[in-house]
Structures are given as C-alpha cells and as structure tokens.
C-alpha cells in the first residue's frame, strides 16, 4: 500500500468555474422573468445584445493577448457579467447603451486588469457607473410597471423601441413612460428622493400610485424573485451566507434606526429591502468571487460596508439607488479588509495573542 503525501486541499469538489457561473446565470432566470412581465420584454432584447457583445469583446481582446479563446469563453464569466448589466439598466434603453457598457465591462474593467480573477472591480457595476455618469438621461428612463402602463407594449414593441426609440405603434419612449394618470413615473426610490427633497413627508409622498405595494408595484416581485434565486445559490453552495446576510442585515438595522427616529423623513426598512436593486446586489453582485473579500470575517465586514453605503447614498446622496456605487467603493476596501482579517494559520498564534 502506497503512502501518498499531498498538500492540502485534501477534499475535492468537482466544480469548475464554468459550472459555478452557469448556476449563477440560471439563478437569475426567475428575476429576469418577473422583470420581463412587469417592465416589458425589453430586458430580453438587452440580454441578447449584452451576451453577444460580451462574447465578441472577450474573443477580440483574448486574441489580442494571444490567449486561447475557446476555454475562456466557455467559463461563462463573461456571460454572467453581461446578464448582470442587462438586468440593471432600464429595459427600453437604446441598443448602443448596453453595447458600450458591456464592451467597457469586459475590455476595460476585466481584461485590461488581466482577465478573470485579476479584476479589482466588479465589471458589471463599474460599467453601470460608467453608463450612469455618461448618459444620465437614458439610464433613468424606466417604464411604469405593468398595472400602471398607459400604453400596452407588445414584445415586438420592445425591439422597435430599443433600436429606434419609438414603439412599432409610433409612441415615443417618453409617451410610454406616462402612467394611466398621464404622469411621468420614475422608480419608487427616485420618486421618494424627489418628494423628500421638495419638503414632502413620507405619508404625503406615499399618495403616488408608484407605491402600489409597500415596496413599489412590480419592484417587490422582482426583488422576491431575485431573493428566490439567491436562496437557490445558497442551497447549491455556490455562495456562502455571509455576504448576503451582512448586506441585508446592515441595511435593515440602519434603515430601521433612522425610520424609528424619524418615520416621516426616512422610508421603512422593508421598502429599502424590497425596492431597487437590493436583492440583486446582496445575492448576485456583492458575492462576485473575484472582487469580494475572501476571508470569512472579511466577508461580513465587506457585506456590512455595502449595506452601510447603500443606506447612506440612498438617504443622503445624490443618486436614488446606490448599489453600483456601494459595491465599487467596497471593492476598493477589499485589499485592506483582507489584510486585517487574515485567518490564523494552523500552528501560529493569533495576532496580538499573549505568548
């Protein structure tokens, strides 16, 4: 009998990057489906455009770098980046927006840093921020959710609108943005921000039809669907519980405190948890294995920092939603967090322990 000496890890899991990324993409499906139902089929067109651009950009830059193209395209990491960006932007945004964004994510944020595993920032979120500061108008044109839409939008209209900015029936995007009442509706977070800035109290702002359920019509269901997808990822052990729980807990505690202190000036914790991109951020974006913290304690700090930044920017900052900024700022802190939360190596004493 041979006595083999091998170094750790001794227990192997047959999972590859490709299968992990595939599971992440699959877990997005319920969220995408709900988004397509409530906010129009534009998101599906955006997905196709994003994935095609991501693959093209990845193949192009890999051939420039003299790397094997096929194995790296097949690891599906570009696919996940494309999916995350496509669901984050408004579904009826013009086609060049998602093309520019995805190309930027893959070329600038991922490949110029050295490809998968080397990028400092989450590519999808860096591209989202780039688009938001470059094209603020196109990046905030969300349609009202299905129950409030004044114009019925067919799947074909999605294609027409994305490529020509007019639906096949000849409605412009700003006409489609009108609700049944003839008012242009922004997202619930945006409406809340504008109203609070105008000196209205929360109860007064609450009269707007955009908040049909407690987190805003449509948005609640989108967030619940992403929560379900995230729980699936947890169950499959693709992600660990630490980052999502830390994000949601810190956001919940902070919003709860400010809501209890001043219920007229701050939205309720449930509104914050189930509106905007909170669930998508907590389960799909913050858990990116490359740009997130890698130690167990570090992941708690990293998640809590994202929750804190989302709360701060949403409540006091200049933008209605804050997921992308929060994730990027937390990405910057990751090297520091990892440095201070290094786990004790077996056989060594913990830092600062008495000798």
């Amino acid at each position: 009998m041979s006595f083999k000496i091998a170094s750790s890890p001794h227990h192997h899991n047959r999972r590859s990057t490709a299968s992990l990324m595939q599971l992440v993409a699959i877990a997005c499906i319920p969220g995408i489906a709900v988004q397509a139902v409530f906010f129009g089929y534009g998101v599906l067109v955006q997905l196709v455009l994003a994935i095609a651009t991501a693959w093209l950009a990845e193949a192009m830059i890999l051939s420039l770098r003299h790397k094997a193209i096929r194995p790296r395209l097949m690891d599906h990491s570009a696919l996940v980046t494309a999916v995350l960006l496509a669901v984050a932007i408004p579904p009826f945004a013009p086609w060049w927006l998602i093309v520019i964004g995805t190309a930027f994510a893959i070329i600038m944020v991922k490949q110029l840093y050295g490809g998968l595993g080397h990028n400092l920032f989450n590519p999808a979120m860096a591209a989202y921020v780039m688009l938001l500061i470059s094209f603020p108008v196109q990046m905030t044109q969300w349609l009202p959710p299905l129950p409030l839409q004044s114009v019925t939008i067919s799947p074909l209209d999605a294609i027409c609108t994305i490529f020509t900015q007019f639906s096949c029936g000849g409605f412009s995007l700003s006409q489609m943005q009108l609700s049944v009442d003839g008012i242009t509706l922004a997202t619930p977070l945006d409406t809340l921000r504008t109203d609070l800035a105008q000196g209205l109290t929360l109860t007064e702002s609450w009269q707007s039809p955009v908040y049909l359920s407690f987190a805003g019509s449509g948005w609640l269901w989108v967030n619940l669907a992403y929560l379900a997808g995230g729980l699936f990822l947890l169950q499959q052990k693709v992600i660990t519980w630490r980052i999502p729980v830390a994000v949601l807990a810190s956001l919940f505690v902070l919003t709860m405190l400010s809501w209890l202190a001043s219920p007229d000036a701050f939205a309720s914790p449930l509104f914050h948890l189930f509106s905007g991109g909170t669930m998508l951020a907590a389960f799909f974006i913050a858990t990116d294995p490359v740009s997130a913290s890698t130690t167990d304690r570090g992941r708690l700090w990293y998640g809590a920092l994202i929750g804190l930044l989302i709360y701060l920017i949403r409540s006091f900052g200049g933008y209605p939603d804050a997921v992308a900024f929060a994730v990027l700022l937390a990405n910057m802190c990751v090297p520091l967090i990892d440095y201070y939360t290094r786990p004790r190596t077996y056989g060594h004493k913990a830092k600062g322990a008495t000798k």
């Binding site: 520019i100 780039m130 500061i133 470059s134 094209f135 196109q138």
Partner: protein, 231 residues
C-alpha cells in the same frame, strides 16, 4: 547635426514628457477636453519652456547651486505671467476657458524638470533646442488626447477654434457625427485617464514591436555561434 537628431528623438518619442516621463499630468488630463484647449495650453507651455530653458542656460554659471531651485521657479513664473497677460489680451475666450491652468503652468514639472536636468548643464543653443522638442512632444500628446476626447465626447473637432485663432477660424469647426447625448465619460476626467493609459499602451506596444524585431536578429546570430555548423 547628430545633437539635433538626438534631442529631437528624445523630446518627441523616447523621452516624451507626457508619455514617458509622465510629467505635467495635471494640465494634460484637465484641459484636453477639446483640441483647441489642448492647443492653447500646449503652445503656452512650449513658450514658457523655451524662455525658461534659454534664460536658465545663459545664467547657469552665475547661479549658486544651493538656491538654484527658487531661482528657476522665479524665472518660470516670470514667463508664465507674461504668457498669461498675452493670452488675456489677445485670446480672451481661450484665457477664460483654460482658467486656472494657465497660472498653474508654473508648477508643471516638465518645465522645471528640463531646467534642472538639461538647461542648467548645457549651452544655450542645445537648451533651446531641447525646450523646443520637449514642448512639441508635450503639445503633440495634448493634441492627440484632445482630439480623441473631443471626437468621442462631442463628435466634433476644432470646436471653438475662433477663440485661439481669430474669427476666420470658426469655419474650421468639423461636426463628424451628430448625437443627442454626449458621451460624458470622454469629456470628464476619468476619460482623460483612460485615454492617456491607452496612448501609453500604444506607444509601448510600438516600441516593443520594433525591439522584438531587433532581438530576433541578434538571437539568430547567437544561436548560430552556440550550436556550431548544422549537420
């Protein structure tokens, strides 16, 4: 003649202040949002560099080594003030659009760098030549970056040429394509950083391309010597 060639090559390519020495990045990144702004600042820097190099070189034997830096700075500041007043008088629109970056030429390290590294050790003629070539190299980088950012950001070239060149130049304005929304990233500072990085990468890859050609030739000779004659 070889001195002329060497200084030209150093200033424009090998030791380019913008791409290789990475000096004067603050104005380089801040004002290159249009070609004309870049041209205005590039010319102003070139004039100051030329003046300061000539003066520093001609008084180099009288300047005590211990206090040379304050003296260089005062000489540079004199020329910057002169250029600033000239621009205020003759190109007022451009003067306003460049704003604080004209007085800030004083702190441009490319200028004090040339005074310290070259003009204080060389005769007047080579110093003037060095200033001219370094200034031209800086101006070229500014122009390329300005053109890149103006085309990407606004789809135009030479917008506001009349600010620098007089009213006849407003005909130079070229609108390459029309779009409802400007690509703000290219106009904002992050676009300058990204564009600058890409320019440096391009220069390095051109250098590498030529270097690799040379190395291949040397390698052939070396291998022939090591392995001896083929069987």
């Amino acid at each position: 003649m070889s001195l002329f060639k060497e200084l030209t090559l150093q200033g424009l390519w090998k030791n380019n202040p913008g791409l290789v020495q990475l000096l004067g990045l603050c104005p380089l990144l801040a004002v290159t949002n249009t070609v004309i702004n870049a041209l205005g600042l590039g010319l102003a820097t070139l004039l100051v560099l030329l003046g300061s190099n000539i003066v520093v070189s001609s008084i180099r034997s009288h300047v005590p080594n211990e206090i040379r830096i304050p003296i260089f700075v005062m000489i540079i500041a004199t020329f910057v003030t002169a250029v600033q007043l000239l621009m205020n008088a003759f190109t007022f629109g451009l003067y306003q659009s460049l704003g604080i970056f004209i007085p800030l030429i004083v702190t441009n390290c490319a200028i004090i760098g040339r005074a310290e590294a070259f003009a204080s050790k060389n005769a007047v003629l080579p110093s003037a030549l060095d200033a001219l070539m370094m200034g031209l190299g800086f101006l070229l980088v500014l122009l390329v970056l300005g053109a890149l950012r103006e085309i990407l950001g606004q789809g135009s070239l030479f917008a506001g040429a009349d600010l620098l060149l007089g009213s006849w130049a407003s005909g130079l304005h070229l609108q390459l394509f029309q779009s409802d929304s400007h690509f703000l990233l290219a106009i904002l500072p992050p676009g300058a950083f990204i564009g600058m990085g890409l320019l440096i990468a391009l220069k390095n890859s051109i250098d590498q391309h030529y270097a690799s050609k040379k190395v291949v030739n040397k390698g052939d000779i070396a291998r022939a010597r090591v392995t001896g004659s083929p069987q």
